[in-house]
């Protein structure tokens, strides 16, 4: 009897201690759902589709990309934070500044910036100030001089309100001491014909636009730390004396409470995938990132500080 109890106890202990260890070691053992909070065809979706086969190769299970668009990502993030299980099989794409700005500005965003665990930020599309090829503005200085002479006449289009484009425009105005008029569009797509048709003086958009429309648009400056590989001739704002670095960072997150080994495994898989697709993405004007663990959290902190003042100002005005 005593022996039995002892062995039972041992068995239980063994189960408790060993089984999770084994199952950890085996993660993943079933398909992973990778939710994209935007429509198919956008940059997040295109990247996910590039990553999908690489992730499957690395993890050995199927990775199913699904879409849950709405509210600039908020619909997916709020549902993810409410319902996703912290087992590593639910992964959601996430973006800066969206996850920083929305909970600050909206009353019912339905989620919190820190309500999910970021596994990795895998790339960055810096903001870029772009004008039409036939525009009178040849350099960033031309643009600034114009804005100084005619405040508010310089219309700058961009994707969305409180978006990376919007906040960068505000930071640029502050840094250069000028007044521009920011005109939001629903996404980067519609900004392009508006700039082509001469309805805007310029656009604060992302570097892939500069690369894709090299023959139609001129990029005056990019908001990156260093020059973007695909645009070697375009100066950074920093070089020109305006300390603004920003844009959209894309990454993936899992629910809070997901076991660390699982997070690490996912981070490794995304890192491996990122290396495989780097060449393709660099040519398109992306800047690759490999921010995992503490670096990933630190990046949210940096960007929150960078855009925080601007957002707080907006909130006060409302």
């Amino acid at each position: 009897m005593k022996l039995l109890t002892k062995s039972t106890l041992l068995a239980v202990l063994a189960v408790v201690l060993v089984i999770p260890g084994i199952s950890m070691a085996e993660f993943p053992e079933k398909p992973i759902t990778y939710t994209i909070p935007f429509n198919p065809g956008g940059e997040s979706d295109i990247t996910a589709r590039l990553q999908e086969p690489e992730l499957e190769k690395y993890l050995g299970v199927a990775v199913n990309v699904t879409h849950k668009p709405g509210g600039g990502g908020a619909v997916a993030w709020s549902e993810f934070q409410r319902t996703a299980k912290p087992d590593g099989y639910s992964v959601v794409g996430c973006n800066i500044p969206h996850i920083i700005g929305q909970p600050m500005i909206r009353k019912d965003a339905g989620y919190e910036t820190d309500g999910m665990k970021v596994v990795m930020w895998f790339h960055f599309t810096p903001n870029a100030l772009v004008v039409s090829k036939d525009s009178e503005f040849k350099t960033l200085d031309d643009f600034i001089q114009f804005a100084k002479k005619k405040p508010y006449v310089g219309t700058v289009g961009g994707s969305g309100t409180y978006s990376a484009n919007h906040l960068e425009t505000i930071r640029f105005m502050k840094a250069a001491g000028i007044e521009l008029t920011y005109v939001p569009y629903t996404g980067t797509g519609p900004v392009i014909p508006a700039l082509m048709g001469g309805h805007l003086k310029g656009a604060m958009t992302y570097t892939p636009v500069s690369v894709n429309y090299k023959d139609k648009f001129r990029t005056l400056a990019v908001a990156a730390e260093e020059r973007v590989p695909a645009l070697p001739d375009v100066p950074t704002f920093k070089e020109l004396g305006y300390d603004i670095v920003g844009g959209a960072f894309r990454g993936v997150a899992v629910p809070l409470g997901t076991p660390q080994p699982v997070v690490d495994k996912l981070a490794e898989a995304y890192t491996a995938a990122n290396k495989q697709i780097a060449k393709k993405q660099l040519d398109l004007g992306f800047v690759m990132k490999y921010a995992t663990g503490d670096d990933a959290v630190a990046l949210i902190g940096t960007m929150r500080k960078a855009y925080g003042d601007v957002l707080a100002d907006i909130k006060k005005k409302k």
Binding site: T66, H67, D108, G160, V183, G197
Partner: protein
Amino acid sequence: MVFETFMTLLDPVIILSIFAGVSAGLFVGAMPGLTATMALAVLLPFTFTLPPLHGLVALGAVYMGAIYGGSFAAILVNTPGTPSSIATAFEGYPMSKQGRALEALSIATVASAIGGIAGSLFLLLLSPPLAKLSLRFGPAEYFWVAILGLTLIASLSEGSSTKGMMGGALGMIIGTMGVAPIGGETRFTFGMPVLQGGVAMIVALIGLFVLPELYTMAAKGKTALTAVEVDSKARSSFWRVTKTVFSMPGNLIRSCIIGEIVAIIPGAGGNVANLVAYNEAKRASKHPEKFGTGLPEGLVATESSNNVTVAGSMVPLLTLGIPGAPPDAVILGVMMLHGLRPGIELFTTSGKLTYGFIISMGLAAIAMVPVGLLGGRLIYKVIFRTPVYFLVPTIAMATMLGTYAVRNSHTDVIIMLILGTMGYLFKQIGIAPAPIVLGLILGTIAEMGYVQTMLSGQASQYPALKLFENGLSHILIGMIVFSAAWPYLAALKRRIMSKKGGSA
């Protein structure tokens, strides 16, 4: 470019999609109560998994087949299968009663194919230059175009223009739910985070176009239709019929042009085109008194004009994002899902896809001839024997599955059911679903245009003046005034005419 694209369409999968689409469309269109818009709305979610070109080709073929299929029921049962074949029944049914049903069907087939090809040609030739012109459309112009669309809906909607206007306004209100397209405020979310996504256009489309029809079918509860007995011995040679159709080139050209003009006007599609073309054919005829007794001329006019509207109505859609006819709203939904934005880029960056889609509709029109002539007999036998109690639940199920698939959202299914039920009730008091859907689409365009104009005018003391700044805006405003006044002018003209008629 065009030739190259044509070669890519010779892929067996595409050819198969065209034939499958035309057959499915023919089936749905021939079934009274099931409209082309509804067919597209039900089938749309099932094209998600297809590449964009395949999805668009399949839906384009369904659209083409459905408008043609409407003639089957019109000719054989005296009930238009879709509203685009109303006038087809005027001539087709008398022909059937005279034992010339197969001749009438063959004429409808040939005329529809010609109309379909003409529509694709119009689209192919008109849209690239118009897309270039679309670059000149800034926020102010988009605002005015959307307002023009709204006034047109009102003046063209079936029934009273007040009710059309009310439908449009209702659609605009539904469109304001969720995060504002510009400004980022959340509106009408009632504290529910999931409503930040608003009412997706596709969800509204499925609900408003499909459910009311289903309710109506279920309420009528008819089990089978009684068709004219078809005397299969009275075959008519295809070549003779083709010769008959081509022996009236004036009629064909006139009807195709009428079809195209009606198609470009937002809100009006085959449902208006077939009636106008029929009336004009009658007016131009040497023997107008014979109309209504089974005259091929009338049949050619209606069936060619309504099939022109299929591709023809996509001119404003592909260039400005404004649906020329209600079914185009569904096509717009597919395009948006694949990140294809109407405008110049469709004809440059994604030119291959756009031209492929346009040409595929011409091919679908050609495919109607073998499908209609060979499969037609089988199709109408199936149609007249499919009981409603089987059809309604099947479509209802497909509708719900499809709605869920749009955004993987249960909420969307609930929204769809609520909107559809509301749509049915509104239909009972004379507010049709089409103006509601167009209001939803145009309202968002108008709002964006207005806010963007006001914002970009910040430098001036009166930003609103920017709305009236340039020539294109003035032209559009002129058109708005004209279209808003049109119903009153028409009524006035009628009154004067009747007075004259009375005194004479």
